[in-house]
């Protein structure tokens, strides 16, 4: 037997009252948060007292609907013992297991460690550093997309729809960089610009 839903068990008036309780509880939680955010020094007697009182009140108000629901056998967020029909009808085939995902995680961690080690030994030529970092990051991104996001196990048509679109669009944005380098040139030439007036770039 499936869980009874809230609407089967309660009348409209019950639901309204419970809603009021939840709203009040949320309001007190908000007050607590506001106090925490706006108090300059949170760890004062006043502030802690205010927090404790607000939390207590919030707990009191949330306890009413929670206990009522429990008493009537309604668990709004319970995991059902029997699978809901929509789920039971699904036959999901999911590739990959703990070992595969663990390996991917290890790979990602390994690549991250390599990046951090590079930062530790300090490659002073930032262009080389950037190139290596971006190369490693692309590998990491590919791992995440392929295994964690499961794109490797989707149909090829989905892959060839999504990936090239994104890659082309991002690469297109790179057209801005000639302007960036040009600006740099103009900026670094600035002190000597007066000396070489009129000289074309």
């Amino acid at each position: 037997m499936a869980q009874p839903s809230i609407r089967d068990v309660f009348q409209k008036s019950d639901l309204i009252l419970m809603g009021v309780c939840v709203v009040l509880a949320a309001g007190f939680l908000l007050l607590t948060a506001k106090n925490a955010a706006s108090a300059g020094n949170f760890l004062t007697i006043d502030s802690l007292f205010f927090t404790a009182v607000c939390l207590l009140l919030a707990l009191t108000f949330i306890a009413v609907p929670a206990l009522t629901m429990r008493a009537r056998g309604v668990h709004p967020f319970a995991v059902p013992e029997e699978l809901p029909p929509a789920r039971a009808a699904e036959h999901v085939h999911f590739e990959g297991g703990t070992r595969l995902f663990g390996n991917v995680l290890l790979g990602l961690l390994g690549l991250t460690v390599v990046e951090v080690v590079l930062a530790y030994i300090k490659i002073h030529d930032l262009r080389i550093f950037l190139t290596i970092l971006m190369g490693l990051s692309l590998v990491k991104a590919a791992l995440i997309v392929a295994y964690f996001m499961h794109l490797k196990f989707e149909r090829l048509s989905l892959v060839v729809t999504l990936v090239p679109t994104l890659v082309v669009c991002i690469c297109l944005l790179f057209i801005v960089f000639p302007d960036s380098f040009r600006t740099l040139k103009q900026r670094t030439n600035r002190p000597t610009a007066a000396a070489t007036t009129g000289e074309p770039e």
Partner: protein, 640 residues
């Protein structure tokens, strides 16, 4: 993303789901007024909501353009109404230059975002894309509703920006492109209108980006996943292809504008300097922003801005192809080429944004590349134009109002597109940039042409949407002044541009003691043209009243429409007029042929509906359909 599911708990049981088989949404038609007409998740209602939103915006935008023209033509004249409506912006009924600029900004923003982007795509696309592919609704009906209401909120914020007064002016004055540094540090520099008004402008655009993004992913998903049996990609009407391409452009372009908008907002309110270079001063103090680059804003903005131009025009192209074929009683000439041309235009549209920036100080090498790519857009555009002419050639043309507007679209597209080839060349653009030539170019090709596409679509689809025909005579009376009027407005503007009249100037001459005194002497020959254009604009705008009258009058008093008044072939004409809540009344249409089978030899009528089977093909599709039903059934369980 999370909350767009249609609760199937309402009907819950397996049997019910099975009974509805391929049903997209298991909800019945809503009964309460609010769920039916306001927060509706029916794509048809949302489409009409979008159209009404665009109608409101387009009239506001047109009124603004008339106000601008009148200020330019009769400078110093005191307008009683202006004095009453805008005591800050137009003290004594005379418009201040800043107020003129804020009108420019509002006119541009409203027209580009809330008319040209919403009506063809959000309006007609929403209404007819699902019907034309045989679906019962969009893939995400709740998301669809959200995207409309987010857009509506954006419009509300934009309208409120008009009234954000500051420094004796109303509204932001940065133009629809909002170039920094003035848009970024306008309030520091004490530029009128660039304070709160600019903030509201950015927020409005950010909201609009969000709304369009939701809409775009909904369109793409719907078109890919919800086509009915037999509706292969190459059997889709060209309208669907156009809406699809537009949605892809929107999906990829709007997020970049969103990012740029966020950065601009930070520049403006948190003192960052992404777009603000060093060394600016108010005259007395030096602004302490440094290190940013206004060119970066232009890059990010136009990365969105150029695809946006195609977002505006592509749906019009689709509707035009569709209507030309229907009223010429001929298949579209070169259907496949049309599809590829659409895609080529969409793709190339991403590669050419730099042609808006030739004089921004960008690298000349990139400028050259952008120039070459820009000119290459001429190729697919020419393919489309020739195919439209090929469709008309030798057809038994029925000159109904939609057809007139579709032909008008072709004419305007060509007339406006040709000057694009002029502006696409870096050398010519150097002298033409920011003149009335540019103004005339993009108004013709992107503004008026797209609006003609919308008019064509409105006259064409009105019977399906409202169950009544629009009045034919009034339609013709609307068409002729409109097409002649827009040419009278914009052809002289090309000449003004070549003379050198710059955009966005509120006045070119003053009237002193009844005598014209030029502010810029080189403009003297254009004075009569300015008058001519203004009168043409007033007459053209007045002619739109005919459309409005026709629209609302026909909605209630028009002649009743049959299910297929134009003898067209696509799926929307197979269902009732207006379509029921689930579009096909519980029936799932099966498609057996392409979208444009007109004048087929041996057929009983001169058109063959897409749902008409013929013996040989019916067999093939039925066998293929067996598995297809299976696939669809599974999928829809999956969607639930």
């Amino acid at each position: 993303m999370a909350e767009d599911d249609i609760p199937n708990e309402a009907h819950g049981t397996e049997e019910h789901a099975a009974e509805h088989g391929a049903a997209v949404h298991h909800h019945g038609p809503p009964t309460s007024f609010i769920r039916k007409y306001v927060f509706s998740i029916d794509h048809k209602v949302i489409g009409i909501q979008y159209l009404l939103l665009a109608l409101f915006s387009v009239f506001l935008g047109m009124l603004m353009s008339i106000m601008m023209r009148m200020n330019m033509t009769w400078p110093g004249h005191s307008w009683w109404l202006l004095a009453k409506l805008f005591p800050t912006g137009a003290p004594g009924g005379v418009m201040s230059p800043e107020f003129y600029l804020s009108l420019v900004t509002m006119h541009g923003t409203m027209m580009v975002f809330f008319v040209l982007t919403t009506a063809p795509q959000g309006g007609f696309g929403n209404y007819f894309l699902p019907i034309q592919i045989g679906a019962e609704d969009m893939a995400f009906p709740v998301l669809n509703m959200l995207s409309f209401w987010v857009t509506f909120l954006g419009l509300a914020v934009l309208v409120s920006a008009i009234f954000a007064a500051g420094n004796g002016v109303i509204g932001p004055t940065g133009g629809w492109t909002a170039y920094p540094p003035l848009s970024a540090i306008g309030d520091v520099l004490n530029v009128p209108g660039q304070g709160m008004g600019m903030n509201l402008w950015i927020i409005s655009i950010a909201l609009f980006c969000g709304g369009s993004l939701l809409g775009a992913l909904n369109f793409i998903t719907t078109l890919l996943n919800l086509r009915t049996r037999g509706m292969s990609l190459m059997r889709m009407p060209l309208t669907c292809w156009a809406w699809f391409t537009t949605a892809v452009l929107a999906l990829l372009a709007f997020p970049v504008l969103l990012a740029a908008g966020v950065l601009l907002f930070l520049d403006k309110n948190l003192g960052t300097s992404f777009f603000v270079p060093a060394g600016l001063s108010t005259g007395t103090t030096v602004i302490d922003h440094a290190g940013g680059s206004p060119i970066m804003w232009q890059h990010l903005f136009w990365f969105f801005g150029h695809p946006e131009v195609y977002i505006a025009i592509l749906p019009g192209m689709g509707a035009t192809s569709h209507i030309l074929s229907t009223f010429a009683r001929k298949p579209v000439f070169g259907y496949r080429a049309m599809v590829f041309a659409l895609f080529a235009i969409g793709l190339l549209g991403f590669f050419v944004w730099g042609h808006h920036m030739f004089i921004s100080g960008m690298s000349p090498y990139t400028g050259m590349a952008f120039s070459v790519l820009t000119l290459s857009i001429g190729v697919p555009s020419a393919i489309k134009t020739f195919n439209w002419l090929g469709t008309l050639w030798g057809g038994r043309i029925r000159f109904k109002t939609p057809m007139l507007f579709a032909i008008g679209f072709v004419s305007l597209f060509v007339a406006g597109g040709i000057t694009g080839l002029v502006l696409g060349q870096t050398t010519l653009d150097l002298s033409m940039h920011d003149t009335y030539f540019v103004l005339a170019h993009f108004h013709l090709v992107m503004g008026v042409a797209a609006i003609f596409g919308m008019f064509a679509g409105m006259y064409f689809w009105f019977p399906k949407m409202f169950g009544r025909m629009m009045n034919e005579t009034l339609g013709r009376i609307h068409f002729w002044p409109t097409i002649i009027g827009v040419y009278c407005i914009f052809i002289p503007m090309h000449v003004m541009g070549i003379v050198g009249m710059p955009r966005r100037y509120s006045q070119f001459y003053e009237i002193v003691n009844g005598q014209v005194q030029m502010i810029y002497n080189f403009n003297r020959p254009t004075v009569p043209l300015i008058h001519f254009v203004t009168w043409a604009a007033i007459i053209t705008v007045s002619a739109q009243v005919i459309f409005i009258f026709n629209f609302f009058w026909s909605m209630f008093k028009g002649q009743k429409a049959t299910d297929n008044p134009w003898e067209a072939t696509t799926l929307e004409w197979t269902t009732a007029t207006p379509p029921p809540h689930d579009n096909f009344g519980g029936r799932v249409p099966t498609v057996y042929r392409g979208a444009y089978e007109f004048s087929v030899p041996g057929a009983p009528d001169d058109f063959v509906m897409q749902t008409t089977p013929d013996e040989t093909e019916a067999n093939i599709v039925t066998t293929a359909g067996t598995h297809a039903v299976q696939g669809k059934g599974d999928g829809h369980n999956g969607h639930g």
